[in-house]
Symmetry: C2
Subunit: 244 residues, 2 copies
Amino acid sequence: MRTYKLTVSYDGTRYQGWQKQQSTDNTIQGILEKAIEKTAGYPVEVNGSGRTDAGVHAKGQTVSICLSGKVSETKFQESLNLKLPEDIRILRAELMKNGFHARYSASGKCYEYHIDTKEKQGVFGRRYSFHYPKYLNQTSMKKAAEILTGTHDFGAFTDKKEEKSTRRTIYDIMIAGQGGEVRIEYRGNGFLYHMVRILTGTLLDAGTGKLSMEDIYSALETGRREKAGFTAPAKGLFLKEVYY
Amino acid sequence: MRTYKLTVSYDGTRYQGWQKQQSTDNTIQGILEKAIEKTAGYPVEVNGSGRTDAGVHAKGQTVSICLSGKVSETKFQESLNLKLPEDIRILRAELMKNGFHARYSASGKCYEYHIDTKEKQGVFGRRYSFHYPKYLNQTSMKKAAEILTGTHDFGAFTDKKEEKSTRRTIYDIMIAGQGGEVRIEYRGNGFLYHMVRILTGTLLDAGTGKLSMEDIYSALETGRREKAGFTAPAKGLFLKEVYY
């Protein structure tokens, strides 16, 4: 058996998220496993770097798979792309050392969030950005981002009761705005359930003045969900890269 | 009766073109007329600046309509947008002088064409660009564009037998390329059926070396369709602006 890493891009619009489910065939993991089974000729387990919610997109999700015998990466990738719908694409296939695992070997991730602040939502970005037609004070957003950067207990920044540690490190948050569009990029060693979407809601609330810098300190200190901002919608979110 | 101009943006992907047809309800003109009838309370004829083919998009198509009585432009626009699907949006509604007609009053148009030259087609641009993974010599494309600019008989640059004059003026053609993407912008006083798509195919053939500059002069001189380049697909094309 040899271990391969696949880098995958997908438009999450019409799927019910990453994770395979009993109740539906319409998940990205499920569709990938079927296409890989057809290509390889036997069932193959697909391990993703992590789940993405329904509607979330990926520019660089990664998965690990084990295949028996020798496989040409290029041919395998091409043959797989022919079997996949056009909104799921394999960007790269690479032979890895045995023991590589898309999730457990990952050292960090990068996410991108797109916000459309124009008065009317653009027709072409409607699936790929959150329409939020408000004035955003970018100085306040950047101050809030500075407070959130670093190693903290992010217990207030998840929508799930976590049993394990909610301590994570955010390496940096980059905010760039121009022409009615704001993009936020997050790099960190790991993110909790809904964490990037709640961080985004918190930064937007800082930008409109709904949350003060004190509120953000207080969210980090108390770990209480209601102290942080809202959960921004899935469709503006992209998993950009997984680091190893 | 008062005359209004509406500026409309649409994603042409799931429609059978602009023009109303007996055989289908799925045209942009047809859907606009139904929504306007619901908003106004009586049937209203929608006159577009011109047709767009199935799959072609618009960032600024214009239409003229006549409404009886006084209408608040903002309210009319908002109420209309509530009735329209999210891939058709009214960007502006303006009261015009009587006699204004979206098509006959137009002095020119601007079209944009998007080409994705990356080896693998990007997932997010797949509806909005033509995937053409070839090396394009931009110097040759720009030379060809210079030859095509100006007033010429564009008889070789249409897929329809035209009964009227095929003489048109192209004001300018701008070619910009970066990061695996090429955009071509065309401004002119009017364009024949498929003309922008054939101009694009011709510029791409000049970029790959399939057509020489002599071939392009010869297409203009002979008016023979087979001398010009191929008809580039609809999905890369955007009607950007109509000039008055």
